[in-house]
Amino acid sequence: MSATQAASDDVLIARIAQGDRLAMQVLYGRHHVRVFRFGLRLVRDEQVAEDLISEVFLDVWRQAGKFEGRSAVSTWLLAITRFKALSALRRRKDVELDDEAANAIEDASDDPEVAVQKKDTSEALRKCLTALTPEHREIVDLVYYHEKSVEEVAEIVGIPENTVKTRLFYARKKLADLLKAAGVQRGWP
C-alpha cells in the first residue's frame, strides 16, 4: 500500500469517528475484499467470513475515535479480523476443528499426487498451501498476499518479531514436507 493511501485511510478514519457514513463506504470499498479473504482463509466458511466483515467494519465504526494511527489502517483491520475469526472458530467445537485440520492435511497429501500425475506442480502447491495449519496459513498469507512487514505481522498476530520470522520459516518447511509427500521436489530443502 502506498504512503498516500495510508495517509488517506487515516483521514477516512477521522471522518468515520465523526459519524461520516460516506467515509465508511469508501473505507469498506477499499478494504473489504482483502478482509474477507483473510477471514475466509482462517474460518474456511464463506457465510461466516461474510458475517465477519460486517462485524469488523462495525468495530471500526465504533472504535474509529480511538484509532491513534500508530499502525496502518489495513494492519488494524487485519488484527480485528483475526480476533473476530478466532472468536468465531472458538464457537465451534474444538474436536470438530482438530478433525477438520487433520482431514485437510490428509486430503492435501492425496490430492497433490493426482495433481502431480497431471504434471501440475502449481496446483499441488496451492493444495498444500490450503492444507497448512491455521497458524501457518495466516502467517504465509499475511507476508505474501497482504504484504505485511515483520513488525506489522507481529502486531496483527500478537507475537514477537523473531517468532514471526521463525514461524514463517517452519510454515515453509511444512509446506515443503507436504509437497515432498505428494512427490513434488522443488530443490529446497
Binding site: 504512503a3 495517509a7 487515516d10 483521514v11 478514519i13 477521522a14 471522518r15 469517528a17 465523526q18 459519524g19 457514513r21 465508511m24 469498506y28 473489504h32 475484499v33 474477507f36 479473504r37 475466509l40 482463509r41 464463506e46 467470513a49 461474510e50 458475517d51 466483515i53 460486517s54 467494519f57 462495525l58 465504526w61 465504533r62 475515535g65 480511538k66 491513534e68 494511527g69 502449481s122 502447491l125 496451492r126 498451501l129 490450503t130 504465509v140 498469507d141 507476508v143 505474501y144 498476499y145 504484504e147 505485511k148 512487514s149 515483520v150 506489522e152 520470522k165 521463525t166 514463517l168 520459516f169 515453509r172 518447511k173 509446506l175 515443503a176 522443488r186 530443490g187 529446497w188 530443502p189
Partner: protein, 232 residues
C-alpha cells in the same frame, strides 16, 4: 559461503534465510534488503531457496485472488447495523491529529487563502513594531564581550522557555505532511489558525539565538512552509 543455507534444516535457520520471504514481498527496510541481496549474490544454495520462495509467493497470491469477493449482503448488513447505532457526538472522542485533520477539512480554499493573507499582514505589522522598538532602544555606545562584574555568575540549566514561532503552511499542504513535519521538529501547535498562522512550540528546552536561527532556516526551507518567524 553456503554456510547460511546448509545449516538451515540441520540446525536453526540463519537470520538471512528467515528474511528471504519478506525480501520477496518487498517489505524489508533498505539495510536488510541490501544484506539479503549481498547474501544471495554469494550463496547459490540461498539463491535456489529464494527461487522456491518466489514460486510460493506467486501461488499464495493466486490462491487468495481465487477466493472471490463477498456478496453485497455483507455491506447491507453492516449499514443496517450502523444505522442502529446511537448518534455520534462530533469531536467527542477524537485525538489531536484527527481534530487537526477535521479542522483543515472544514475550511474552504477561499477561507484558507483569506486567512493566510490576513496572517501575513498581521505578521508584517508585528515585525514593524518589533523593529521600531529595537531601533529606539539601541544606544550609540559599544559593549565589550568581557565579564560584567555587576551581575551574578550563573549557568543556564536549560530551564528557560522553549522557542516559539509563527508558521504559515502552504495552501496545498496536506494534513499528513503537516503532522509529519510536527513530528520531525518535535513541535506542537500552541495556538491555532489565527489569521491562517499557527503558533508552534519546538521541543521542551530553551535554545540559543543561533539554534533558533538555524531552526527557522530549516523550517523556511520546508516545501510546505510558506513563512516561519520566531516569536517570544
Amino acid at each position: 559461503m553456503m554456510a547460511a543455507s546448509k545449516k538451515m534444516l540441520e540446525q536453526e535457520p540463519s537470520e538471512i534465510e528467515m528474511l528471504l520471504p519478506f525480501h520477496a514481498a518487498g517489505t524489508l527496510n533498505a539495510r536488510d534488503a541490501r544484506r539479503v541481496e549481498e547474501a544471495l549474490a554469494r550463496d547459490p544454495a540461498l539463491a535456489r531457496q529464494y527461487a522456491v520462495i518466489r514460486e510460493e509467493y506467486a501461488e499464495t497470491i493466486d490462491l487468495n485472488e481465487s477466493l472471490g469477493a463477498p456478496s453485497a449482503r455483507a455491506m447491507q448488513k453492516l449499514f443496517v447495523a450502523i444505522d442502529a447505532e446511537p448518534a455520534r457526538q462530533p469531536w467527542a472522542s477524537l485525538n489531536f491529529s484527527a481534530r487537526l485533520s477535521g479542522f483543515f477539512a472544514e475550511l474552504s480554499p477561499r477561507t484558507l487563502a483569506w486567512s493566510a493573507s490576513l496572517g501575513a499582514l498581521a505578521l508584517l505589522l508585528q515585525a514593524g513594531v518589533i523593529g521600531a522598538v529595537l531601533v529606539k532602544n539601541q544606544n550609540s555606545t559599544f559593549q565589550t564581550a568581557s565579564l560584567s562584574t555587576n551581575e551574578p555568575i550563573t549557568r543556564d540549566l536549560g530551564g528557560g522557555a522553549p522557542p516559539h514561532a509563527l508558521v504559515r503552511f502552504a495552501p496545498d499542504a496536506r494534513i499528513a505532511d503537516i503532522t509529519a513535519l510536527l513530528d520531525h521538529y518535535q513541535a506542537s501547535i500552541v495556538d491555532g489558525a489565527k489569521g491562517g498562522m499557527f503558533r508552534l512550540q519546538f521541543g521542551n528546552r530553551a535554545m540559543s539565538k543561533e539554534e533558533i536561527a538555524a531552526l527557522m532556516g530549516r523550517l523556511q526551507s520546508e516545501k510546505i512552509v510558506s513563512l516561519a518567524v520566531p516569536t517570544p
